[in-house]
Symmetry: C2
Subunit: 211 residues, 2 copies
Amino acid sequence: MSHTSGVRQAQKEKTRRALMDAALGLLEDQSLSSLGLREVTRAVGVAPAAFYRHFRDLSDLGVALVEECLGSLHHMIGAILAGQEGDEERIEATVDAVAEHVRRYPAHIRFIARERHGGVRPVRQAIAAELDRFADEVAIAFRPQLPAESWPPEDVRMLAEMYVDHMVMTATAFLEAQADHPEAADERRVAATARKQLLLISLGRRHWHDA
Amino acid sequence: MSHTSGVRQAQKEKTRRALMDAALGLLEDQSLSSLGLREVTRAVGVAPAAFYRHFRDLSDLGVALVEECLGSLHHMIGAILAGQEGDEERIEATVDAVAEHVRRYPAHIRFIARERHGGVRPVRQAIAAELDRFADEVAIAFRPQLPAESWPPEDVRMLAEMYVDHMVMTATAFLEAQADHPEAADERRVAATARKQLLLISLGRRHWHDA
DNA sequence: AAATTCAGCGAACGGCTGTTTACTGAATGA
DNA sequence: TCATTCAGTAAACAGCCGTTCGCTGAATTT
């Protein structure tokens, strides 16, 4: 077996990261299915053939990017679910966390939004699978707080999917708000809308047993 | 001015439609930003240069497709908003209408889902503008049914955006369900989830004044 | 009947694409 | 110290790309 460190491996991983970073940068104004292999290697400053030392093709690189981008989101979700506050405090914390995440990793969110329904099947599937896992986590975190007699597992799952979808929606809304113009006015409007929508869902959840 | 009919104009529009249809077909497994001009003309059986008689470039064709695809959705929304039934009947009618629309025009829905956050700015903007108009319509239709003292215009707008976003989400979920396998099992599951989510929103709306 | 318009054609252009090949030379291991 | 491994190289490959050009011939207008 090979060592996990060493000058050799380190340099290889460095180039690999450079390829992924360059790709993520180039994907800010095009889709993965139109990204060129040469375009990526050129941006890194490396020969086209070097690409194949790291990835089979561009959709392989895309799948790697999915793990990276949704990995960072995963940490954020974990932090939110760990908080044990009340409804309104949790909403506030969630929206703030999403806003900051988008500010910090805009390229990650753009990539996910763009490729979630994009033209490269393996990437689409990787994103769908990861978002499914997110919904699982949210469902597990919510279950103990919901009375079991009015909340069968399928309804809990439905609720969890709604939260995950809403989170992705909100993140892309923040992204577009900061893309239109870097002022903070639009961003506050998006945050206000997101908070109200989450409040509406909370109200619906509280009265779910009526149905 | 030129006549609206005539053999000349008719043939031109026929070719134009053929280009748009071919593009929509080719876009089922790639994004607009990777679609080639020659690819489209080849599919139609026409010389590459002929393309320029109808569109400035591919993003121009994309904008034309947005109008077509969201135009068909527009009719569907109008029909739903015209119905004057109660909450649960409206939910049922909405989900059924979306399901049938996706069954009838899958390529339209795929195009909108894929290019809503895709790599071609003019197309993104056209879709965003049209969905905004949808939200306006929904807001106008809902306003008379909501007590004005607990529903300021911005909250009505928030609710309308939520319904529009949920409709798009549901449509793409139907699309993926029928793409995975043409059986009806997944489709029913998507419909059940969508109905429950709409019911949850309805419950939240009914108790909005509590907040 | 003659003049005009104009959708579509075919050819050519420079430039870019993904992939393969044999290679080099530094890090690694015996 | 010497042999091996292997990330990255340079060059060549056939093939596709968007765009421009002058031209044709049928529909239209005068």
